[in-house]
């Protein structure tokens, strides 16, 4: 991890009609780190991630990519990745690869454990395998920042662990990985920096050790419980409508 940021977020808010989902979010994403965004359901994690990758335009505020100049600055795994039916996993990867450098995507499939399923049609892949294909897709072109929205969703515990290990390896080789997850144990084991969202705002952010010290707890769950106002109910921002 280096002190140089790869992404700078300044005062970002996002509203859908009258509902403000993100409120004045500011953060810096350090390069070569695993940054985890955590928070209860409805706290705005996916909206923040979609805004960071450019899928949503912030209502106010600025997001600046300040990493190395490259053809694909940000790789992205959406929360629910979609793939064109009728194409195999290898063909799907080859298509995305052809948009960048046309390199053989087979090693990327091997890295996420999908080598044996390369010739299987995407609609015949299980939910977890689709998730892995989405992760492989996010790494095409070696983007300096890879954003994964709940990468462990639908994966068994071993595969979830493998995904987080892969994220850590990528960070070790200089790639920044920003991910959201509800699996606090894996986040705790992998993340260098944690951003806790609560009702659309950054409730706490920083290196894990600092957060533990600051909130006088020895676990990430303790940090989350200390900063989130109500851990029993889904956060509904902007009222009932």
């Amino acid at each position: 991890m280096s002190d140089e940021p790869v992404l700078q977020v300044d005062g970002v808010s996002k509203s859908f009609g009258p509902v403000e989902v993100l409120s004045n979010v500011s953060m810096s994403v350090p390069s070569g780190a695993v940054v985890a965004v955590i928070g209860p359901n409805g706290s705005g994690k996916t909206t923040l991630i979609r805004t960071l990758v450019g899928d949503l335009r912030p209502t106010t505020g600025v997001i600046s990519y300040v990493g190395p100049d490259t053809d694909r600055p940000i790789g992205y795994l959406p929360q629910e990745p979609t793939f064109r039916p009728g194409f195999t996993a290898a063909e799907t990867m080859a298509f995305y690869s052809s948009l960048i450098d046309g390199r053989d995507p087979e090693p990327l499939l091997e890295r996420v454990g999908l080598g044996a399923a390369a010739d299987r049609n995407v609609e015949a892949l299980s939910g977890g395998m689709r998730q892995l294909l989405g992760i492989a897709q996010a790494t095409i072109g070696d983007p300096p920042l890879i954003v994964l929205d709940e990468p462990a969703s639908g994966l068994d515990p071993n595969m979830s662990e493998s995904v987080f290990e892969t994220a850590a390896e990528m960070a070790g080789s200089g790639t920044t990985v920003l991910l959201s997850s509800h699996d606090l144990a894996l986040v705790e084991a992998t993340a260098d920096t944690v951003v806790v969202l609560d009702r659309g705002s950054v409730a706490a952010a920083g290196p894990l050790s600092q957060l533990r010290e600051r909130f006088g707890t020895d676990s990430l769950r303790g940090v989350l419980n200390a900063v989130v106002s109500d851990t029993e109910a889904v956060a509904v921002v902007g009222g009932s409508r």
């Binding site: 694909r72 979609t82 052809s98 948009l99 897709q137």
Partner: protein
């Protein structure tokens, strides 16, 4: 990565999608069956290319929009919607829209053009003496006129395809997108003619403006161009429509629709309009369900 290569990759994926979707193959077979049935009833085959075109004109005014909407309304919806991911690649909005449009247009040309070409081959075998002559002068039936008819049909399909794609982008939710696509279909097939008729009966459109008013409707423009540049050439009876106005009308719909797709593709502008159209379409869908 050049724009050309990105465009080519996107277009090729669309062509592959159409080729791999069996229902589109069935659509081609279905169209051929309709053409054969229509021509057997109308007797156009033996008459030559122009009578064949005349027999097929009316069914094509309905079937071409149907195929175009089938190809276009999910171009950016459902499992085909990977825009959030694609926009993280060096893919410009224009390259993406142009690639998707051209790829699907190639599919449309195959679905509609293949059975029409097959009909043309049959006419060359069973048609009259004139059907075997490549005429260079007006007043004679000719394969050239049938090729012109086929080209106009594909152009008409391109316009409706672009309109359906615009509906697909503006209204993304599944059921609302279907309702919007149906609205495009009904609007193209009947809307323009009905508006012109209403304008004529209420006096809003005078006789002198009728040709121009019809040119603003895609299917009326297509019909008029076929009557003017295919049937009219062979029969020496033209003046069905103002040709330049009809061409401008079709080009206007095409460019406006593709422009709407380019502007809306990254889900940023027109958000309010999109939600409004979505709400309206959902209400239409609800009304249809009842």
């Amino acid at each position: 990565m050049s724009r050309g290569r990105v465009f080519g990759a996107v277009a090729w994926r669309e062509v592959s999608t159409v080729v791999r979707t069996r229902s589109y193959l069935l659509l081609t077979v279905g169209l051929l069956a309709v053409f054969v049935g229509t021509l057997r009833a109308g007797g156009g085959l033996e008459g030559g290319y122009v009578p064949t075109a005349v027999d097929l004109l009316l069914p094509l005014e309905l079937l071409v929009p149907l195929v175009a909407v089938a190809l276009g309304y999910r171009a950016f919806g459902g499992d085909n919607d990977d825009r959030p991911v694609l926009l993280t690649y060096p893919v410009s909005k224009r390259s993406l829209v142009a690639g998707v449009f051209l790829g699907r247009l190639v599919g449309l040309a195959g679905i509609v053009g293949a059975p029409l070409a097959a009909v043309g081959v049959v006419v060359s075998r069973v048609g009259g003496h004139e059907s075997r002559v490549f005429a260079t002068h007006g007043g004679v039936d000719s394969p050239v006129l049938f090729v012109r008819f086929l080209a106009l049909t594909i152009c008409f399909g391109a316009v409706v395809l672009a309109m359906a794609m615009a509906a697909s982008v503006l209204v993304r939710a599944g059921r609302a997108a279907l309702a919007a696509a149906l609205a495009v279909l009904v609007g193209v097939v009947a809307g323009g003619d009905l508006l012109a008729l209403v304008g004529l009966t209420t006096g809003a459109v005078g006789d002198s403006l009728l040709g121009t008013a019809l040119a603003a409707s895609p299917n009326a423009a297509y019909r008029g161009l076929v009557l003017e540049t295919v049937v009219g050439v062979a029969t020496d009876r033209g003046a069905a429509i103002d040709v330049s106005a009809a061409v401008a009308g079709l080009a206007g719909w095409l460019l406006a629709s593709l422009g709407a797709v380019v502007v809306s593709i990254d889900r940023r502008p027109l958000a309010g309009l999109r939600s409004g159209v979505g709400e309206l379409s959902a209400r239409v869908a609800d009304a249809l369900d009842r």
